[in-house]
Subunit: 402 residues, 2 copies
């Protein structure tokens, strides 16, 4: 890890869009500077699925996400720590953010029992009993050695009743204090030669008053960054967009804002306009493995028959190696023949697409034209997606065109 630098974590805002809340910034970490707004590819179990880390880096990614729950189960954070931490273990010298396992506990396990102490649940791998607490989450994340550690929060479902939502806010606040206690000294953890920082997570479901209550509490702790949790859990898109705006405005202007688990290009554009700086989502990598290609004109299902004889690339304007080297017909063939190269090439493209989108967003902010850029990109994306959905409906018996 020759590139690691022992310097304090900081976030600087270098430019602001005049017409929106969008801002251009830099996250300064021990593992490099990261221009924001940033999209972080998800490296769930120590690998960004179906690509090498060289390929991830070549898309322009400087920070990726690691998954506390998955890495704790396999191969175990003790082993990773023993072997020099997650950066070294997986061979990635950029920055790493680890989630807290709070969301996985919420989404993966059927058998969850939540108490004030923590969460009892069963491993999705072998059914083994597990007990996650704020302290345990910190222990794991500090062992992994992420540059940015996330607080252990309690996420509630999109259809949770008001009492549950309020309860989640309160518990998340209490747990954040326990995280911080485990994370001392000085709210910044210094170990193995570089600094790691703890980000707090806001909850509050889709209730603006609860969002405010959550924000007002956690910002008193003056953490180096804050995340918006509990969105993208099943609520309708307009609600996601509205709540993103509400939540972002409640977080301190000078701190990085991170919208967890979001999302589609239109969701990211909405959030950047609302002043969000950081994103992560499994979408580009997960979709790639089923042959869903992301383009400026929406999703393209490359396995469809219509691409069988198409000699052109996925996107002739895309600079990625997949588009420069291969046709739609070829990529379709790879999926038909179940060749691993299919998911590999589409993952590469989808990650490039997201980084191209983020580069476009940053350029637009620098040029003071974010609103215009967001409108144009959204219009094209929405039109393409509508077209695709119409096509799907037309093909289905009983679909719209009948």
């Amino acid at each position: 890890m020759s590139r690691v630098q022992d310097r304090p974590f900081s976030f600087t805002i270098t430019d602001r869009d005049p017409q929106t809340k969008g801002r251009l910034g830099t996250l300064h970490t021990a593992h490099g500077d990261i221009p924001t707004p940033v999209f972080m590819p998800v490296g769930t179990a120590g690998s960004v699925k179906a690509v090498t880390f060289d390929q991830v880096a070549s898309t322009g990614s400087r920070i990726i996400l690691g998954n506390t729950y998955h890495l704790h189960l396999r191969p175990g954070h003790e082993l990773i720590e023993k072997l020099g931490g997650l950066h070294r273990f997986q061979g990635w010298d950029g920055a790493i953010l680890t989630d807290s396992a709070g969301f996985q506990v919420f989404s993966l396990s059927d058998l969850v029992k939540i108490s004030e102490e923590g969460v009892k649940f069963r491993s999705h791998l072998d059914g083994a009993r597990l007990f996650f607490t704020p302290e345990k989450s910190m222990e794991i994340q500090l062992g992994l050695g992420a540059d940015i550690v996330m607080a252990f929060d309690q996420c509630v479902a999109a259809d949770a009743d008001p009492r549950e939502v309020a309860h989640g806010v309160d518990r998340t606040s209490r747990w954040l204090r326990r995280c911080l206690e485990a994370f001392v000294p000085c709210r910044r953890h210094h170990k193995a030669g570089y600094e790691r920082v703890l980000f707090g997570i806001m909850q509050g479901g889709t209730d603006p008053a609860e969002r405010r209550r959550s924000a007002e509490d956690i910002v008193t702790l003056d953490l180096p960054g804050y995340a918006i949790g509990g969105l993208s859990v099943g609520e309708p898109k307009p609600v996601l967009h509205e709540m993103t705006g509400v939540a972002a405005a409640l977080l301190p202007d000078e701190k990085p804002r991170y919208l967890m688990g979001v999302g589609y290009p239109d969701d990211i554009l909405e959030a950047v306009v609302a002043g969000v700086d950081m994103f992560d989502c499994v979408l580009p990598t997960r979709m790639a493995r089923t042959g869903s290609v992301l383009t400026w004109d929406g999703r393209l299902v490359v396995k469809n028959q219509e691409h069988a004889q198409d000699d052109g690339p996925i996107d002739s304007s895309c600079p990625c190696p997949t588009c420069r080297g291969h046709s739609r017909a070829y990529i379709r063939h790879l999926f038909q023949a179940r060749e691993l190269l299919g998911p590999m090439l589409v993952t590469q493209h989808n990650l490039w697409f997201y980084q191209e989108l983020m580069r476009g967003i940053r350029q637009a902010i620098a040029a003071g034209q974010l609103a215009d850029y967001a409108r144009k990109v959204r219009a094209r994306w929405d039109e393409g997606e509508q077209q695709r959905l119409d096509d799907v409906a037309r093909r289905k018996p009983g679909g719209r065109s009948r």
Copy 2:
């Protein structure tokens, strides 16, 4: 395909090892010069499994193999021809050799009916009836556009009786003439702006007299190259090595000699010493997908528990990206977690290993030290393999150590 050159195919021998029959040469093709002895990675269905073509090229590979049978079934050679040929279709600007489907017919299908006209069998994909003839094989391979086209031969099993072996030799000879007829004019086929050549295949099982009979017939046709077929079909290793020597000596010195489907490093070393120039084998790619790593000390099963905490690379002397970037512990984890990156990284390493072996062989020939090089590499490989087999036996109940 900017690198394609319209020039005659040729083979030049540039150096000879003084103590063995090993020779250094160059295959001059329309898609580049290829130093020999050469190992050709197998790109069965339009993809060298689990690696990108950039990664294949970075190992030093300048020629790969394509599979007539698989590509005929899916996506179909007509489509590939329509889209500009196999080089363009898969995005590979190096040279391509296609097999004739003779071996797949022999190895894949349970329901084969061979007549003088050709081979009736069923698709392994959907059971569809197929009929392959020498003419059909040429049509497919010319449609694919390989630089080197292989004759459609009749391969017989290792345990075939003498009559079958003799019959296979005769039929292969007759079929070779039909291939050539379909391949005219001038024994070299010129189409789509570059020259393709036809290689003949020798059969004859493990009978030196039949090998001689086969060779004496096919060399009268003065083809640009000759292959040794019908080995590596189940015969014991010493027989393979002995027959390789017999067969190679029967082929013209000035033409490239290609030992089809072989093999392990020790097999390749034996064959180079006997004067063989070209090799292909699925071994490095197929083994990689189950976590078998090839090293100078034999196979290493990276999934084994003993590597769980091993921070070192597979091979500290290996220049490949896998060994420069990742530990055994990490690669083991990837296989445990069924991450695609596991097969990807090991495939890359295994292909590098084979190309390093071939580079070592070529350097040894240039230095006039092939015998010494082959002996040392074989000794180390054999010792490592013996150790591995002993370990396996020790672990098994009822194994040697009990």
